[in-house]
Amino acid sequence: MLVVALAAAGCPELSPAGDVDSGVPDDVIDSGVADEVDAGPPPPPFAISTRNRLAWKRQRALENDLLIALALEKADLCNELGLYSCIDFVHLVPLGGNEPFSRSQYEPLPSPTVTTPIALDRVALSACRARVDQDVAGVPVVFASLDFDAAAVDAEAAAAAIDGLGKRLLGRALTPGEVEEFAALTIDDDGAAVSPRDFAVLSCFAIATMSETIFY
């Protein structure tokens, strides 16, 4: 769409890498810069936001999205010490909520706090663990591609699980590069195979805590 707009405006065509095509072969142009100098990563083939307006997906929306994406009940989500709700009580404020009645917090915070990432990690880990436990114990809902009795996860099953998680948690298909990155969770830092259960929890956690999970 950007390319069409620029072409209509009489602008030079953008190459796939996003740089301007001068119409002259690259080897003809002497940039005066030695080849070994790293020019940095190529610019992305899409526009970078200049307004940077993001909204924070706060605790109730986050909770609802996790419950729907992972087909869980509210009771399955994080409870500290098994007793105190993470979202409704312990981490309410860093997840964007406020409690006007018992705590006289009449407005939520305008932006996340330093503990928001940790609160999100705890909620996501708990939710993912709950989903995996239920899939292991009964008919798999989210991780149908995985054989939890196997010693390791095969590549195809891992890709299918990751693709499904992307669609459930982020509402989009992950790119092949992203799937490949997350597939590295089938092994540990030493290259040893990770159990299917652990892989399921880890891949779910990693995708559920992407920044696009809580900003839009």
């Binding site: 312990v90 018992s102 705590r103 006289s104 928001t116």
Partner: protein
């Protein structure tokens, strides 16, 4: 009244330098214990908010009814309800017996507080500029804007919070929780809001205390991959400069790992293992090494959120997490063998002035007592006792909304009071020339008056404002700013 306004020697560059120092703290925060090598000039500010309007003439500046020709109709007390510790220049409201009346069950704590800490207590009169709770509360922390709208917590964080994980933490409610209005304050110096002190430790580790998870090393690996994919994603690139996302990513990649590496989830866990209700053992957690002593100082911390705040305030400062912490009793009632926290805190004075003031002052000062006792017993640096105790570098500012009405039905102790601008504050610190009232009270009207900030001589007819209180705190803590009203009479070695 003589005002000492500073403008020339305090340059803009100085303020910018402070901001940059805090903003650049990232390079100084390592996975080594954050409290290592405590700067020799670091000071600690604790704000305890007397929510709802704590009246100074109902605490450390009482009038004995016989001292005033209007003693029967101004807020005054019979001689037997006013006490003065031996050798002290200060006196306080004090009932020799516990009070069990109208749902109250009050064991007074004003006199014990003066007996223990009176040498560090400075009573400073002031008259604020609003009787609206929210506005007055905020002004009590911003000095009504004397420092460009910067709160005392933010100013202290910028002056003393370099290298700390959460330089300022605010556990208060309502207007006391409001951030300041100075847009030049960096995010890192804004106070972190903490709603539940008792379980705050859980917010410092993303993994521990959760059961049946993969090994920590695997989770750390998942985080690394996530962070990489996140930054390289279309969303991450598109919004790579969005402030909201940038601060989130900064907290996730820089601060969170430091909190976890410093084991704050253990250091800040104030509760003991209690099977059934606080089953730490079942979740592979343990109580703070300081747990026993904070529980001794705050024995009701599991049932009283205000005590839990007091305990966390100490733990945050003691473990090098924060240098400025604010706490307050709630507006909500707390029943614990009587009315421990009145509905609306000090503002229940609308219904019953005398008992509310006495109950709430006792409550606030009991918490301050616990905090100060802990600070007096704690070395600044465990590895270097020569640096002295934390209390030597601390200041407790008991902020409040405003005062209360100065009159009462003749000889009555059962009456309600409205809001009143005229009041005073209590500052407690070895950095101050304590055991003294700065200003005074007119026994005819029960209205307080100000003092000369250089000599400290009481000056009837003058008034101190929020800005002067802010300045006194700032001066004692070495916080410099244009327009500060220096208080050499109050600050030691000034």
């Amino acid at each position: 009244m003589k005002r000492i306004l500073k403008s020339s020697r305090r340059s803009l560059l100085q303020g910018m330098g402070s901001a940059l120092a805090v903003a650049g703290a990232s390079s100084l925060i390592s996975t080594r214990a954050a409290r290592a090598q405590v700067p020799v000039d670091r000071k600690f500010l604790f704000v305890i908010a007397a929510t709802g309007g704590g009246s100074i003439i109902d605490s450390f500046l009482p009038i004995v009814d016989s001292e005033s020709p209007n003693g029967a109709t101004i807020v005054a007390f019979p001689n037997q309800l006013v006490a003065q510790p031996n050798g002290s220049n200060l006196r306080c409201v004090h009932s020799p017996f516990p009070i069990e009346l109208g749902g109250f069950n009050i064991v007074g704590h004003l006199l014990p507080f003066l007996q223990r800490h009176g040498s560090d207590v400075a009573v400073m009169t002031q008259e604020c500029t609003s009787v609206n709770h929210l506005i007055a509360q905020k002004r009590s922390l911003t000095g009504a804007g004397i420092n460009g709208g910067r709160t005392l917590l933010e100013a202290a964080a910028m002056a003393h919070g370099n290298g700390l994980l959460m330089p300022a933490v605010n556990m208060c409610e309502s207007g006391y929780l409001e951030p300041g209005d100075d847009v030049s304050v960096p995010d890192s110096a804004r106070a972190v809001a903490v709603a539940d002190a008792l379980l705050f430790a859980f917010a410092t580790d993303g993994v521990r205390g959760l059961q049946n998870l993969p090994q920590r090393s695997l989770i750390d690996r998942a985080r690394r991959i996530r962070n990489r994919v996140d930054d390289d994603s279309v969303f991450g690139i598109t919004f790579r400069d969005a402030p909201l996302r940038r601060s989130f990513i900064d907290a996730r990649t820089r601060l969170a790992p430091t909190m976890e590496a410093n084991d704050l989830i253990t250091k800040l866990t104030m509760v003991a293992n209690v099977p059934g209700s606080i089953p730490l053992d079942d979740f592979d957690l343990s109580s703070s090494p300081d747990g026993e002593k904070v529980r001794a100082a705050f024995p009701s911390l599991t049932s009283d959120p205000f005590e839990a705040q007091g305990a966390l305030a100490f733990l945050l400062a003691r473990h090098g997490v924060s240098c400025a912490v604010a706490l307050s009793p709630s507006f909500n009632p707390l029943l614990d063998d009587g009315l421990k926290n009145t509905p609306l805190a000090f503002d229940f004075s609308h219904t019953n002035h005398t008992l509310t003031q006495y109950a709430m002052w006792s409550r606030v000062l009991r918490c301050a007592d616990g905090l100060i006792t802990l600070l007096k017993g704690q070395d600044v640096d465990d590895d270097d006792p020569a640096q002295g105790k934390m209390w030597n570098r601390s200041l407790v500012y008991i902020a409040t909304d405003f005062g209360r009405d100065k009159t009462r039905p003749a000889n009555s102790f059962e009456f309600g009071s409205g809001h009143h601008l005229n009041n005073g504050n209590i500052l407690i610190s070895p950095l101050l020339n304590g055991n003294r009232v700065y200003g005074g009270v007119d026994v005819n009207t029960a209205l307080t008056f100000g003092f000369d900030p250089v000599t400290g001589i009481a000056a009837p007819g003058s008034l101190m404002r929020e800005g002067e209180v802010y300045s006194a705190v700032a001066h004692a803590l070495g916080i410099d700013f244009d327009g500060r009203v220096d208080m050499p009479c109050m600050v030691k070695n000034a």
